[in-house]
Amino acid sequence: MLSASKNLLSGTCLRPAASAKRTFSSVVDFWADVEEAPRDPILGVTEKFLADPNPNKINLGVGAYRDDDGNPVVLDCVREAEKRIMGSKFMEYLPMGGFKEFCDHSLKLAYGETNPLVTGNKIAAVQSLSGTGSCRLMADFMHKFKPGAKVYITVPTWSNHHNIWGDARVEKETFRYYKPETRGLDFDGMMEDIAAAEGGSFFLLHACAHNPTGVDPTADQWREISKLMREKGHFPFFDMAYQGFASGDCVRDAQAIEIFLSDGHMVGCSQSYAKNMGLYGQRIGCFSLTCNNEQEKIAVESQMKRIARATYSNPPLHGALLVSTVLGDPELKALWYKEVKGMADRIISMRTALRNNLESISGDSWQHVTDQIGMFCFSGMTSEHVDALYEKSIYMTSNGRISMAGVTTKNVETLAKAMHEVTSA
């Protein structure tokens, strides 16, 4: 058995040990060399939280919205949509590219209803498995059609970006983004790295509400980034997981895409409805690539579908119906705009409360808490600070990222006190 096991990971031809051949009922031990995978850094935090018996525990781990009572929320517009699609006779396979009406709505949302690319049918798009699925389709598409190209990823970023592009066998590089000293954007570093990258590289940009830092470029900075990328012939791929969630305004949150398009870029976009419509578990998103003409769009879309076919065949139905129902009804859509703004506003008010509490306790500036935007606050705390907070039943990822959605009027003081204690120790 041993020699079989040792060979399993070495890439050589698999041969069970000689002893295995002699026994009729012997079982080759396939999994012996499979090591335990490291806990997923984000989802692992939730596991720790769930295991903690302390009734006053605080979960600032995964980026799922909570109301001021710390409860998950199903939006009213979604509840209404559920009612309308209930009892539907349709449980058939969607096409490989998903529900077309859903894709049409998504493109209008991301690119603007009157955008000539949208009205001119020049955007290749498929329904996808939320943000992860969209990014993976992009990565697989790159691997297949741009095998020489590298993807440039911000430092830091959502950790799963590295898993996705790595598993898709795309060469990865990083570029500077966050400046710990200022807890803000390292704009100069970023521009340097963009300039130094080989022409034609692919850049993974967070359209708004950068995860995990909450630090976004200003509109002017986006314009400069766009200009430089045009000069270098780089390709911008936007991961947009928080449209509407960042500022409360869907149009404003997509402004980076608009800026790039007006500069003549071809772009790609991953859209997720997990957060902004609260459809986390439905796994609903859209992957799109702008094209030069309709024929190209057809060809590109056909290849997206081919990749999807070998991954999951066709995407799940339920979430697509929900989103389409909401976005397709002017009243429901208006309600949604209101609700997503409500979520964004609560988070902004928690940022203010946390900052005020911290500054009054510590006497130091915690300005970055309100400068940053979106679900996350990159507190600047170290992993040692974070470990100390685990002892106080406060849970966040080890990079010091706080999910502001987990902060409530009831726990903000406790949180501020604890943060001050561990950082001034």
């Binding site: 079989a4 399993l8 990971l9 890439g11 698999l14 009729f24 012997s26 079982v27 080759v28 031990d29 396939f30 999994w31 499979v34 335990e36 995978a37 997923d40 989802l43 995964v62 799922a64 929320v73 979604v78 449980m91 058939e92 396979y93 096409p95 498995l129 992860t132 699925g133 020489g148 066998r169 080989e198 022409g199 034609g200 045009r230 000069e231 270098k232 012939g233 071809m266 986390y280 578990g281 439905q282 796994r283 003409n293 024929q295 190209e296 057809i298 060809a299 056909s302 290849q303 579908k305 081919r306 076919r309 070998a310 991954t311 999951y312 065949s313 066709n314 799940p316 139905l317 339920h318």
Partner: protein, 444 residues
């Protein structure tokens, strides 16, 4: 040109000079070359992206939809239809859906490995609720995106942990098997399966090919109701397949997409999987609820990993989760909740068994009707192969030209390999189909 072909042929992109193959070679000039074209907004990175051919199975439905002829018949994709050729949402699913709605669940992320109650009932359905393997923790389950998704995670696992291992797929098989493994970076090989002479199983060919496969290879086995042929090994033949898997240290990877559709009985149809598991083999099993619970569009299934002991199983699960994380993070909730209700509730489960027998029964009946009709119209040909085959499909053995005739002349849509889905045939269309088949065999 017939409508179908107009749809299947798509306009190619404008001809263009190929892009530099790699920005890495002749870096500066190709970058500038690239630059110049992009800045001028005339070139596109994707110009050389060719139109993908239509999917051989799902493309058929596309073509069918585009056909405006009243007589058209869709025998392409294996999706069940009632005798009015309407899609069916099972009663148990309706009931389960109502219950799920009443629970007022939130829409939070499921864990990476999915909905625990779903995983539990799915493993029990596949391996038996009283299975010692389940009780001892030797089986781990990952909720996944129906059959395709299960196979893809399994393929990714093979690629990562058994580099160099090939996957052996029966010839013929579901067309998407090779896509899944190839995209996951696993080399694909075939083993003989279908014998066109006998229109039956080429068992000696199968065993010979498995014998010459390298030890430790992955072997795809259709748990029941082989797709597309409808030909399954006998119990004795399964025992021999088991023996060779043990002796050669193969990793069996069962694809179970039709549990309930072969014999009509959910438990009977799991016997091959259970035989292998109970023999102590480590293996992977892909389980789909697309057909047997009619949950096609909800993409619900499970990947089971059977390991020698609990420790191995747990570690394997941790890695399956890691692979799933980079594909889709966590699976969709809706389908899993419905399945958990149906399979986990004794009453609903009994009801489901009844509906399953109903679906399988209708298919058996329409098979018989088709054979009877064909015998009447063309008594000199042998048609028994149709009733010898089981499951949703019949593998007709038609040539490409005959299949084209079926579609172009008779508006009968089927896959190019000669497979027809009897789930899409109504008793009202039996004669029409029989005429088309006879015409195609006689005149093409």
């Amino acid at each position: 040109m017939p409508m179908a072909q107009r749809v299947l042929h798509s306009a190619r992109g404008q001809g263009s000079r190929p892009m530099p193959a790699s920005v890495g070679t002749c870096r500066r000039s190709s970058a500038r070359h690239f630059l110049a074209r992009t800045v001028a907004a005339q070139g596109s990175r994707f110009e050389t992206v060719e139109q993908a051919p239509p999917d051989p199975i799902l493309g058929v439905t596309q073509a069918f939809r585009a056909d405006e002829d009243d007589r058209k018949l869709n025998l392409g994709v294996g999706a069940y239809r009632n005798d009015d050729l309407q899609p069916v949402v099972l009663d148990v699913v309706r009931k389960a859906e109502l219950r799920v709605v009443e629970q007022k669940n939130n829409k939070e992320y499921l864990p990476i490995d999915g909905f625990a109650p779903f995983n539990k009932v799915s493993a029990e359905l596949m391996f038996g609720a009283d299975s010692e393997l389940l009780a001892s923790g030797k089986i781990v389950t990952l909720q996944s995106l129906s059959g395709t998704g299960s196979l893809r995670v399994g393929a990714a696992f093979v690629n990562r942990f058994f580099p160099g291992a090939k996957v052996y797929i029966p010839n013929p098989s579901w067309g998407n098997h090779k896509n899944i493994f190839a995209d996951a970076g696993v080399d694909v090989a075939q083993y003989k399966y279908f014998d066109p002479e006998t229109i039956g199983l080429d068992f000696s060919g199968m065993m010979a090919d498995l014998e010459s496969a390298p030890e430790g290879s992955v072997v795809i086995l259709h748990a029941c109701a082989h797709n597309p042929t409808g030909i399954d090994p006998t119990v004795e033949q399964w025992k021999e397949v088991l023996e060779i898997c043990q002796r050669k240290g193969f990793l069996p990877f069962f694809d179970s997409a039709y549990q309930g559709f072969a014999s009509g009985d959910l438990i009977t149809d799991a016997f091959a999987v259970r035989m292998f598991a109970d023999a102590g083999l480590e293996m992977l099993v892909s389980q789909s609820y697309a057909k047997n619970l009619g949950l096609y569009g909800e993409r619900v299934g499970a990947l089971h990993c059977v390991a020698k002991d609990e420790g191995n199983a747990k570690r394997a699960l941790s890695q399956l989760k890691r692979l799933a994380r980079a594909l889709y993070s966590n699976p969709p909730t809706t389908g899993a909740r419905i399945v958990a209700e149906v399979v986990g509730d004794p009453e609903l489960f009994e009801e489901w068994k009844g509906e399953m027998m109903g679906m399988a029964g209708r298919i058996k009946e329409v098979r018989q009707q088709l054979v009877d009709c064909l015998k009447q119209k063309s008594p000199n040909r042998s048609w028994d192969f149709i009733t010898d085959q089981i499951g949703m499909f019949s593998y007709t053995g038609m040539s490409n030209a005959q299949v084209e005739n079926m579609t172009n002349k008779h508006h009968v849509y089927m896959t190019k390999d000669g497979r027809i889905s009897l789930a899409g045939l109504s008793s009202g269309k039996v004669e029409y189909l029989a005429n088309a088949i006879v015409d195609s065999f006689d005149n093409c």
